[in-house]
Symmetry: C2
């Protein structure tokens, strides 16, 4: 359950951190990988899910706490969580009856690093 295409996209975000959006034109492959990540964040429900998970003390949230926060059916939430997982943003683990989700460490920081031009690159001092 916890291994999907995390590696690929994780790598994508990883590489991306070292060559930001504004440092050079993206090649098609990297653009495709990164677009998948941004697309995952490009939905209000998924953004809120991410926020609920990321802001959680302890880093983990049970699905049973996420679902009732929305006016959506349980399968829909499950579907959104799956997309976030396939984008390499979160992962999950079943523990008895419940499933817990957490944000993969470093992903958000790498993504932020990709967006923000490294200060040094901006101002050569």
């Amino acid at each position: 359950m916890s291994k999907q295409e995390l590696t690929i996209l994780g790598r994508a975000a990883d590489d991306a951190c070292c060559q930001g959006l504004a440092s050079a034109p993206l090649d098609e492959q990297r653009a495709a990988d990164l677009a998948k990540i941004f697309k995952a964040l490009g939905d209000p429900v998924r953004l809120r899910l991410m926020s609920m998970i990321a802001s959680r003390e302890g880093g983990e949230v049970c699905v049973c706490e996420l679902t009732p926060a929305f006016d959506l059916s349980q399968p829909t939430i499950s579907h959104h969580l799956k997309l976030l997982r396939q984008a390499g943003l979160i992962d999950c683990e079943r523990r008895g009856t419940w499933v817990y989700y957490w944000v993969l460490p470093g992903v958000l920081d790498r993504l932020a690093g990709f967006l923000a031009v490294p200060h040094s690159a901006k101002e050569p001092v």
Copy 2:
């Protein structure tokens, strides 16, 4: 041509920078505003467009330089540029026959700040 809904979404990203994704669960409104921005970046073509514009020495690119970089029709590129503009990420100006695009200053940094948890908030030291 240069004033669309830039203000609204620009504000959204602005507020967001002060209350990151991981600091507290996003309310519906902010989630919707921010999702629009991420959705704009959630397409390979638009990501490449953003990158081509952002990485440009001088900060400006003529559409006539962007269009031939893709295997897509001119109207399609024009449409993607419009979406990026409506998301508050770029702006443009006509100069004679040509139209030039640039990345709105600070937008990418604010977005990055929204994603990356402020270091201080992470480690209270």
